[in-house]
């Protein structure tokens, strides 16, 4: 159980949050002096320290709380996470509606420092705390005919301005193929930076699938269903030509409206340079899941 995967990213654990901020400011100052290239390059793939807590919690896509990047930080305070329950249903031996504490009781929570690549071509590195989804699914008892896992985000219209405005077709839903869900990289995160999950990042429990575009990593989950057929997913339903079911990070398959070949790491300031996007966001260990698939067609 758990610990099936080890970080290749390093976290300078001893570095207090204040120093992360300083580092960012130094990079920005470097940029102002025309040393932007150096600052950006230094932050490239080889030494991806996590983004600062401030960066991770102030630049979010969580359309239930607004479409602007800073809207979730402003509005997500209203999210009611008390008495949170998660319904596990469908093709499982132990269906039910579980209080969150009960759902994860006794399972190993570990730190995973993952790159996060948004479909909008920006990226971050986040130190999550979470539980392998496999552990939760094993306990639910996945039946042999289950082939996909479907997830659903909470809908609290009174607390969610984006839901009231109908920005998307809510509730937000996502899905994974069972083998993707069972992969040791796939976690249900309950915190970051050793703190309970901030509301704007998907409190109290969210999915993190680091080799897929960020929109697959559904936030504030209230339902996990084991199903036989590929479940509908929110962005795919809205624009099937732009957002596929798989949504694996792939620099060779462009979004129709922008290139996916490069990305900008958040935190480099006004002169930060772009860096190359890696296949599967650098998580090559998942490549075997997609052997024989045409990734341009099943994007």
């Amino acid at each position: 159980m758990a610990h099936r995967w080890t970080n290749d990213l390093t976290r300078t654990d001893v570095t207090p949050r204040g120093l992360f901020m300083n580092r960012r400011q130094i990079i920005q100052a470097g940029g102002a002096l025309g040393l932007a290239g150096l600052g950006g390059q230094a932050a490239a793939q080889d030494t991806p320290e996590p983004n600062s807590f401030e960066e991770i919690t102030s630049y979010n896509n969580y359309y239930e709380f607004g479409t602007g990047k800073t809207d979730p930080a402003k509005n997500a305070e209203a999210l009611d996470t008390s008495d949170w329950t998660v319904t596990v249903d469908g093709l499982v031996d132990n269906p039910g509606t579980y209080p969150l504490a009960e759902l994860i009781d006794g399972l190993t929570v570990e730190e995973r420092i993952y790159r996060l690549r948004c479909v909008e071509a920006w990226s971050m590195v986040v130190p999550w705390q979470g539980i392998e989804l496999k552990d939760i699914l094993d306990r639910a008892g996945v039946q042999s005919n289950a082939r996909y896992v479907a997830f659903e985000t909470a809908v609290q219209p009174e607390n969610m301005p984006g839901v009231r405005r109908g920005v998307l077709d809510f509730p937000y839903v996502e899905g994974l193929r069972l083998d993707e869900a069972m992969h040791p990289l796939t976690i249900m995160a309950t915190g970051l930076y050793d703190q309970p999950m901030p509301n704007q990042n998907g409190a109290p429990i969210r999915l993190v699938v680091p080799w897929k575009y960020g929109f697959k990593s559904i936030k504030s989950i209230v339902r996990i269903s084991l199903v036989e057929d590929e479940p509908p997913t929110t962005w795919n339903r809205l624009a099937p030509n732009e957002y596929g079911f798989y949504a694996n990070v792939n620099p060779t398959v462009d979004h129709p409206r922008w290139s996916q070949a490069t990305e900008r790491r958040i935190g480099g300031g006004l002169f930060s340079s772009r860096q190359d996007t890696l296949m599967y966001n650098g998580y090559d260990e998942v490549a075997s899941l997609y052997e024989g698939m045409d990734l341009a067609a099943q994007f």
Binding site: S58, Y59, K69, L168, L270
Partner: protein, 209 residues
């Protein structure tokens, strides 16, 4: 006996004493202020995209302001005509700033800029609007007005199409259902409709039919 002045006449009288040049100063200060905010982290942790949007947003607001001048005169008799050149030139200035942030700070390579213009419809549309503004900016001076005569007016009617392209550019890049880009398109179409002399428009039709 002279008739008492209307409110519009009073406003116009007051505006006569206000020069147009401070608008250029305000525009330049606003652009510099936004840049400073982006540079110092005051536009959030991803300042490139934020600055790009701020400049684009200002340009759209100026476009709307410029298109409002004629309907305002027609329906309220308040004349802002003397400020229209400054509004137009500032529109171009902010579109140029928007373009430069996109090309130099965001995309960062000529090859990719070119590829995006060809491949991404919303970039293509924005680029056409930007190119269309160049001749308008170059002829926004008294000499050009004299030299071009009647064709100056026709040339500057290009801005109607450019404004629509600007709004379409914004709508096209939004994800999901967003209100703000649609508000801009609505405002622009509304202001264009307000310029049409509907009575004459329909009269002409009837005569021809």
């Amino acid at each position: 006996m002279a008739r008492p002045l209307t409110t519009a006449q009073k406003i116009n009288g007051a505006l006569r004493r206000v020069p147009a040049w401070p608008l250029y100063v305000l525009g330049a200060l606003w652009a510099a202020f936004l840049f400073w905010q982006a540079l110092t982290g005051r536009l959030g942790v991803e300042p490139i995209n934020a600055l790009e949007r701020e400049y684009g947003d200002t340009a759209l607001k100026l476009l709307v302001a410029g298109l409002a001048v004629t309907p305002l005169l027609r329906y309220t008799r308040v004349s802002l005509l003397k400020f229209r050149r400054a509004i137009g030139l500032l529109t171009f200035f902010f579109v140029l700033a928007h373009f430069l942030v996109w090309a130099l700070l965001d995309v960062q390579s000529f090859g990719r800029v070119w590829a995006d213009i060809l491949k991404r419809p919303y970039v293509t549309v924005g680029m056409i609007a930007f190119l269309g503004l160049i001749p308008l900016a170059l002829t926004s001076n008294n000499l050009s007005i004299r030299r071009l005569g009647r064709s100056w007016r026709r040339l500057h009617q290009l801005v109607y199409g450019i404004a629509i392209l600007g709004a379409v550019h914004y709508i096209w890049l939004a994800k999901g259902f967003q209100i703000e880009p649609l508000v801009y398109l609505g405002l622009i179409l509304g202001l264009l409709a307000a310029r049409i002399r509907w009575a004459r428009f329909f009269a002409d039709r009837t005569v021809r039919a």
